[in-house]
Symmetry: C2
Subunit: 507 residues, 2 copies
């Protein structure tokens, strides 16, 4: 089957749009504590007509771009009788431009730093072969035999998002929502490459957790059904008996996934992705084709509930849920399972797989009841339980709500209380997405809009062109890799505001 | 006419042979005063199976190569989930490998230093787009997310020298001459690119002085008639009324030459190149086509003799002759003129241009007589004259002999005495070529062989794979660009021993 799934994935390789974006706007960066990470920028002019060794300038492309750079190198007067040596440094945000990359001290591989030293042997057009994710480009002339002119800097944008499919928001939409929607759409488009990448600057791989958020958001924006299909088939090609799907995969130069890298909640979210896909595109053929893979995830989870009826982890497998210090995840994973199971019940029924649907329904009922009894603490009005060291996290409440363990006013009260009293709060935009989902499930539209404007809106106010991998209000230097220089500032799992805006917040 | 000449040049664009040369031989360099520039090398093994950041090794390709590098990057075990960052440093000789390129302090543009920092995004074959001239390649792993294997290093050799045209030297040839011939042939082949380059590492341009030596040597080695033709047409495209041809030209991205860069002796040598070409290949069509250009050089020189009948310089024009400290050049240029004029007389006569031939013959006779009277000092048995500050140089004697101002025993005595008494001696292999020519003209075959074995043979004994731009016995660190790091160690004007060996020294 692996070859079949890979073939289907190949057949759905998306077409790149190849839009061009040019810039000759030179900016300067400066220190300013009021700006994001303490660095602001301002326009100062255009590129000087004549450049000599030591000259450098920062170009601003005006928006986040993913693509391949080209520019022209020409002599000012006489022939360039030696190569021109240039240093190019790319940054998604001003902070990156303020850092000398050689000072990077993070835990990620420094080879992700977007910097090149190039030699231009002959004047004319320089077409750089690699892809970069950036808004700012610093160019430094390291060596040239004679004065040069640098011009026509442009990026051949790579994305398979067809932006003409994106409908304008209705007139009168809240201006902050309009801004947030724009940034969401840019985030998603820039992550839409040959797969839904998690971040176009770094990693660039396909994670099933991110895939779900991306495909869902894409269904209200660019509607690239083929890309969603391709990504689901790539994961299908990784299925092994007795195991969840891997949390992430690589497809270049050939399919690879790390067998030691299992993420329980992400495997369950794969099933959700297929359910969404069928719901949004009605493509029964693909749904039937991939149903066995999705079913395997929930069936496997179903088979590893312990004697208390609470989900366990496969040997060596972990859960992601969120980046939040000290977070315990078992309750949340239980919720993810129930959330997936509910969607799978519906899919099974829609596809005429009644026996499965009935089995899922039955298990849903039992497990929800069980979870409520074993995991919910009525006294504390929260899911605080021995399985998670009695930790009080927003994450657990959110997933129990999405898993349908509690609902209605009780759920609202649990959720609202958690925002005030929980000791572990959402860390990633990915988790914030599920908080939003929980609020919408509970009909808390006004609160959800306010939540979005507060969380994603703050990024917009801080100057985000695309939404970030990490954002915790008040902690601008936060990173999970020791040095924020390699944080991803255009990150897939942060792109979902457009989904909520377009599905729920506009008429 | 410019377009016509360029079209002819294009029509004669040579075909590249694209031979492959591979290496997995790892060497170490070490300090040793007995070695060339104090650096030796020894083989220590092959590339390690597993490499991590910080690992580095030097590969030895066994001989001087010009071409494009490719190699493979592979994971040892698990997927490379970040780019692999490598530093590559190329060197023609061990000394270059001993230097940190960032310490370069020479006057040439540092962009000629052959060094790259590259990022390999996906494992597999890496094909580097630029051309390098090297025997040694240092590879350093700057960053990799996991252990890597580097393998299959190979160079796609670029040359238009068809080495199958090169006849083996007869059995019994003096072994040192065999060695010198091999190094000469490698030098020439590696300079034979889209033009006869002066040096494949650096400059890479077409100089008319070098062209003559290369085309002449090529006529006894690879016999690439088209390349010689192409180069002569490129110069023809640069002809301007009332000026000599430029000393050098560039042809990429389009024809360019520096109008302020005129070299009187090189322009005259252009005429010699055409005469050689006709003599060696008998191509009358091309000779007739380019005759007017060659004739313009000698005619122009003829028109700028002063009232004493001694050649002068065009306003702003210089002469090259040789790199030798303090050298005065007017006598030598007079010799170059006469040397060219004699060849042009023959060519004119062969092509049926009798009127020109008669004029050249007449002028030859007058000017030789004149030169002897005005420039030769009988007392001192040498050309030591007021026009050159009474400087006594080998160069002046050589060119007066080649110009036919003196001949026979008198010339032999002048030449031999100059080797002992002159205060200015040949500095470049280019000038040594003309010393050899003068000796052969005077029938001094044994002395010429000894001279070659002493001069070029010393380079061979010092480990030269190709002959150097600069070689003065006892002055290994000599450079004309302050730092010897960017000396060219494969240089066109040093390639002519094969010409003498194959034309005169073997039966």
């Amino acid at each position: 089957m692996k070859d079949y799934y890979l073939k289907k994935a190949d057949e759905n390789m998306p077409v790149q749009t190849n839009r061009i974006k040019a810039s000759d706007t030179v900016v300067e960066i400066y220190e300013d504590e009021s700006k994001h990470m303490g660095i602001g920028f301002k326009t100062v002019g255009t590129i000087k007509d004549e450049l000599v060794p030591g000259d450098k300038f920062i170009l601003d492309f005006g928006d986040h771009c993913v693509g391949k750079l080209s520019f022209k190198v020409n002599r000012v007067k006489t022939y360039l009788d030696a190569p021109v040596k240039l240093k190019l440094k790319f940054g998604e945000i001003p902070y990156e431009m303020s850092r000398d990359f050689s000072t990077f001290y993070g835990t990620l591989c420094q080879s992700w730093l977007q910097e090149e030293i190039i030699y231009v042997d002959y004047e004319g057009l320089v077409e750089m072969p690699r892809r970069y994710a950036f808004r700012f480009l610093e160019v430094e002339v390291l060596a040239t035999p004679r004065k040069i002119r640098l011009s026509e800097f442009q990026v051949k944008i790579t994305t398979c998002a067809d932006e003409s499919n994106m409908e304008p928001l209705p007139e009168g939409t809240d201006p902050m929502l309009v801004k947030i929607d724009k940034v969401s759409a840019r985030t998603l488009a820039d992550c839409m490459q040959e797969v839904y990448e998690d971040g176009p600057k770094r990693d660039r791989r396909l994670w099933s957790g991110d895939l779900r958020v991306q495909a869902l958001t894409d269904s209200v924006l660019f509607k690239n059904k083929e890309l969603a299909k391709r990504c689901m088939y790539l994961f299908a090609a990784c299925q092994k008996d007795g195991q969840y799907l891997p949390g992430c995969l690589y497809y270049k130069p050939e399919l690879f996934y790390d067998e030691g890298m299992g993420i329980s909640d992400y495997a369950l979210i794969y099933a959700v992705t297929l359910c969404d896909y069928y719901e949004n595109y009605g493509d029964k053929e693909t749904a039937l084709d991939l149903y066995p893979i999705a079913a395997k995830q929930v069936d496997l989870a179903m088979s590893i509930h312990d004697e208390d009826g609470i989900i366990t982890f496969l040997d060596g497998w972990v859960a992601f849920i969120d980046w939040a210090e000290g977070i315990k995840k078992r309750t949340a994973v239980q919720g993810v399972y129930l959330y997936a199971l509910e969607k799978m019940e519906k899919l099974a029924r829609d596809l005429g797989k009644t026996e499965d649907a009935d089995r899922y329904a039955k298990h849903l009922e039992i497990t929800r009841k069980n979870a409520y009894e074993k995991l919910f603490c009525k006294e504390k009005n929260a899911f605080i339980n021995k399985y998670d060291d009695e930790q009080y996290s927003v994450q657990a409440q959110v997933w129990m709500i999405l898993g349908g363990v509690i609902c209605g006013e009780e759920a609202k009260s649990v959720l609202k209380q958690s925002f005030e009293k929980a000791t572990v709060i959402p860390g990633t935009p990915y988790m914030h997405h599920y908080v939003m989902e929980a609020m919408m499930k509970l009909g808390m539209k006004d609160e959800a809009i306010a939540y979005m404007k507060s969380y994603w809106g703050e990024m917009v106010e801080l100057g985000a062109d695309t939404f970030w991998e990490v954002h915790v209000p008040g902690k601008q230097m936060l990173t999970h890799m020791k040095d924020p220089l390699l944080n991803s500032w255009c990150h897939a799992w942060s792109c979902s505001p457009s989904y909520f805006i377009r599905k729920y917040f506009i008429d």
